[in-house]
């Protein structure tokens, strides 16, 4: 932890913005630069920023490894759904549906797989940051 008011103030603004950008990057990943992996790393770097400014106390209360396990379950489930419906494992498709306010949605099922990747990357990065940070010399 770096005890600096400047860093803390900057972080207060930077973390939400970085997380928001990471979500955008995640969502647009199928068509524009981005994707689950890179968005996860970006969210992880936001987490690192938070740790540096505010210390471990808040972040260590969360069991981050659970996040990566949830991500793994999501990605496996995405692959398993087509399998149980008679296709091969990881046979992705495209969902087209209509949401009232947002209008027509065009979502490849690979996006759910990508969500798993996002959560795993974020969860694993934060686990390692927190655990290394908790080490005492």
């Amino acid at each position: 932890m770096i005890d600096s008011p400047v860093l803390r103030t900057a972080t207060r603004f930077a973390v939400p913005i970085t997380v928001a950008i990471s979500l955008v990057i995640f969502w647009q990943g199928h068509n524009l630069p981005g994707g689950g992996f890179i968005a996860g790393v970006m969210a992880g770097s936001a987490g690192a920023m938070y740790l540096l400014a505010f210390g471990l106390a808040g972040a260590a209360r969360i069991a981050w490894w659970r996040l990566s396990v949830v991500g793994l379950l999501i990605s496996v489930a995405t692959g398993a759904v087509p399998f149980f419906r008679g296709f091969t494992f990881m046979d992705h498709g495209i969902l087209d549906f209509h949401v009232p306010i947002l209008g027509h949605q065009h979502v490849p099922t690979a996006t759910f797989f990508d969500l798993g990747v996002y959560l795993i990357v974020l969860g694993t990065l934060m686990t390692i940051f927190v655990e290394l940070g908790l080490e005492e010399r």
Binding site: I38, G44, A110, T127
Partner: protein, 785 residues
């Protein structure tokens, strides 16, 4: 498929449902969970009985489901006479053992009892699967399930070191054989193109194809290895006595009545397929006879009751193996049924004796005749069946065996073979007789002796839950023996034989002189052995000079462990320098090897300098400068920062090539990994310039140069015109990205769609790494606290 066909999966499925219930429910409903497994067993038994009651001219019920059609593997179940015979045996004795275990494990709490019954029920389901499977691969799957569940059951008292060792040995031996058997099955499938057992048996053409294939003998030997390990045949017999550390109901169920008979069952299934082989008779008969002799001989020496029964079981299994070796398959159901009834009863009797006398060693106990009158009656009847006395089923079994030996065609092929085999079998049976006498007289006659009890055990005596199951088994042996007066027994065992044309003639009233004489000789010899047991014991002691197979096996396992440890110590020694050396050297070497083998040589690739730009040159210069800074850094921090600089320069290179995805990735990864490096550096000891020896420095230099050259060469090769034209996967991905995967960003589409399985593997590794770091650091901290 009609009604009876659909019963087959129900028979197998019920025990697994019971297992799940027992596992989940033990904690909730306590010891009452013990009724689930016997109930499932009873239902399976009744269903199997319903199938067995179908007219025998009827085509056997067949359940078919395409499991892995691409590999011709089907979830196919078939209820022929032999399969149903085993199913009835497994589920019927399952009921008895399930009831008995509830009384036997009277001190056990609900949760642990639930786990016990879950393993027992799952074992029963797997065993039923082995009995009814009509697909070789399916048979193998159920086979391995019996090995795994029996591992849990043998090691049930896992607090004891000896139980864990017995369980591991049994698992290793039977799993080893199971794998060999699987390899044999695959060979059969490769040669014939089918895994269907009934298909192979029914088609002379397929068997002809198999028989004339050069893979025939290897397949036969591998399958036999599976059967011999499972059924504890010489030289793999040792795991069975070792497995006697299991609770007595488990020993009864697995090691007398069912699991050890799986190998026998496999022989019965394979005889119609492999039986024509010349190798079948000598191998199977010799192994069977050797096992019969060794088992009964060793049983006579034992003073531990379960050990004694275990060795007689080894002997009995050898006997059935020998019967198959002689291709006398029509005898099998009779021999198996006879053994299952008396041996099951005797094991359960030993359990009662152990409860009452607090020991199962003949040295500590005796005279229990008056204290356990019902048990005594049961034991005498079962003992008479084991010794082969009328009017019990054991008598019919032994008479028909002797009749077969006197008449068998295969034994007539070599002069002197028949008398030798008959003599060996008679002597082995005499030892069995003697062992039976030792057991009955030792436990129940003489002055009353019980072991001093430790702790405050309440005396169970003879509760009906304990004596009823063995009583039923013994009554079965008696009833079927008396059934020899009419044609009931012979019809029954002929119906259930693996030989569909079996017409066995067994009667309680002897019709031929030969077998009767052999029986009398056996009895006389047996009595002599028992009377002279002091002398015989001395001989046996002086003959026991060879190392036991158990110690040979243990040494083998120790050797493997020592090798693995040494290998790990050598290569996983913690030296980062060595790891990198090995990785880099093998990468370079393999690349060069692959390029040379693949015929890819570095032709004079035209390298154009015409689109050289000033920013390209500047970037290259900066990169080189940063790399130089890494190499010459004197502190870790400086090296880490310089490395980060290299990373950002590389990101700039990708800007030049207009690859936004990679730029984004590169920059973020550099940022995050710099944080990591700084976090880790904090814990590293102070950097001390370490000067390696001249040899190591020369190696480092040579390796670095080689890696650089090969990498450079690879890049030149990949960018050369000819290479790009022949292998342009990128164009293909770009073309299909939008149409096939609905995404315009080909990089991401490759990651999450085209190569999703790779990504799945990578993220799984990532999760595991995260969990390992979490676990290791947490564990280390909790130790230091």
């Amino acid at each position: 498929m009609n009604g009876p066909d659909l019963l087959l999966p129900v028979i197998i499925g019920l025990p697994f449902v019971a297992a799940a219930l027992a596992l989940a429910g033990g904690r909730v409903v306590g010891r009452r969970i013990g009724v689930v497994m016997p109930l499932a067993a009873a239902t399976s038994f009744l269903l199997a009985l319903r199938l067995a009651g179908l007219p025998s001219a009827h085509e056997p019920p067949l359940f078919r489901y395409d499991w892995i059609p691409a590999l011709q593997i089907g979830f196919t179940l078939r209820g022929d006479g032999f399969g149903l015979f085993f199913a009835l045996l497994i589920s019927g004795i399952g009921v008895l053992v399930g009831v008995y275990a509830l009384a036997y494990l009277s001190d056990l709490g609900g949760s642990r009892l639930g786990r016990f019954y879950a393993a027992l029920a799952a074992f029963m389901g797997a065993m039923l699967g082995v009995a009814l499977a009509d697909d070789l691969i399916l048979l193998f799957v159920f086979w391995e399930m019996t090995s795994l569940t029996s591992f849990v059951l043998i090691g049930f008292w896992y607090e004891q070191d000896i139980a864990r060792r017995g369980a591991v040995t049994a698992l290793l031996v039977t799993a080893l054989g199971g794998l060999a058997m699987a390899a044999g099955f695959v060979l059969v499938g490769q040669v014939t193109g089918t895994y269907s057992i009934s298909g192979l048996v029914a088609s002379p053409d397929l068997r002809q194809t198999l028989g004339s294939s050069p893979l025939f003998l290897p397949a036969l030997l591998l399958v036999l290895l599976g059967a011999f390990t499972k059924s504890a045949q010489v030289p793999f017999h040792f795991w069975l006595p070792g497995a006697m550390v299991a609770p007595t109901p488990v020993s009864t169920y697995l090691h007398a009545a069912t699991m050890v008979k799986a190998g026998i069952f496999l022989l019965g299934r394979m005889l119609p397929i492999f039986g024509t082989a010349d190798a079948w008779f000598p191998i199977v008969t010799t192994i069977g006879l050797a096992t019969l002799c060794l088992g009964n001989y060793r049983a006579f020496r034992e003073t531990d009751l379960k050990g004694l029964l275990a060795f007689t079981t080894v002997g009995a299994l050898g006997l059935v193996t020998m019967v198959y070796g002689l291709r006398a398959a029509d005898l099998d159901a009779l021999q198996i049924l006879s053994h299952a009834t008396y041996k099951g009863a005797l094991f359960l009797v030993v359990g009662i004796v152990e409860h009452a006398a607090h020991s199962r060693n003949l040295r500590d106990i005796g005279g229990l005749r008056t204290r356990l009158p019902i048990t005594f009656t049961i034991a005498v009847l079962a003992g008479l069946s084991m010794a082969g006395w009328p009017p019990l089923l054991g008598f019919l079994a032994k008479e028909s065996l002797y009749a077969e030996l006197l008449d068998n065609a295969a034994l007539g092929t070599l002069t002197g073979l028949r008398p030798a085999v008959i003599a060996a079998v008679v002597v082995a049976n005499a030892f069995l007789f003697g062992a039976t006498c030792k057991l009955i007289f030792g436990v129940f006659f003489g002055p009353l002796r019980v072991a001093a009890r430790d702790g405050d055990h309440h005396d169970d005596g003879e509760s009906p839950g304990l004596w009823l199951p063995p009583a039923i088994l013994v009554l079965l042996a008696l009833g079927l023996g008396l059934g020899g007066l009419t044609s009931t027994t012979e019809q029954l065992v002929s119906r259930f034989s693996s030989d569909p044309h079996a017409h066995l003639h067994v009667g309680l009233i002897p019709t031929h002189l030969g077998p009767l004489v052999l029986s009398m000789v056996t009895t006389a010899l047996g009595v002599a052995l028992y009377v002279g047991r002091g002398v015989v014991d001395g001989w046996q002691r002086s003959l026991a000079v060879l190392p036991s197979m158990q110690s040979v096996w243990d040494h083998g396992i120790e050797g493997v462990t020592a090798f693995a440890t040494g290998y790990s110590r050598r290569w996983q020694n913690g030296s980062l320098h060595q790891y990198f050396s090995v990785i880099l050297a093998s990468t370079t070497g393999l690349t060069v090897f692959a390029l040379l083998r693949g015929g890819l040589v570095f032709r004079a690739t035209p390298m154009g300098f015409d689109n050289l730009t000033w920013y390209g040159l500047a970037l290259a210069g900066l990169l080189l400068g940063a790399v130089y800074a890494v190499v010459t850094a004197t502190t870790r921090l400086a090296a880490a920062l310089a490395l980060t600089a290299v990373g950002f320069m590389v990101a700039l290179v990708f800007v030049v090539y207009r690859s936004p995805d990679i730029v984004l990735t590169q920059i973020l990864i550099e940022t995050v990994s710099t944080i990591f490096v700084l976090l880790v550096l904090y814990f590293m000891p102070v950097f001390r310039p370490h000067v390696p020896s001249a040899g190591v420095r020369a190696w480092n230099r040579g390796l670095s140069v080689a890696v650089g050259l090969v990498m450079f060469g690879l890049i030149v090769l990949c960018t050369s015109p000819g290479f790009r034209e022949t292998r342009n996967l990128g164009q293909d991905y770009l073309a299909r990205s939008l149409t096939d995967a609905g995404g315009q960003n080909a990089v991401n589409v490759i990651i999450v769609d085209f190569r999703a399985m790779d990504t799945q593997g990578e993220i799984t590794v990532l999760v595991v790494v995260g969990l390992c770091i979490f676990g290791l650091l947490r564990a280390r901290r909790s130790v230091s606290e």
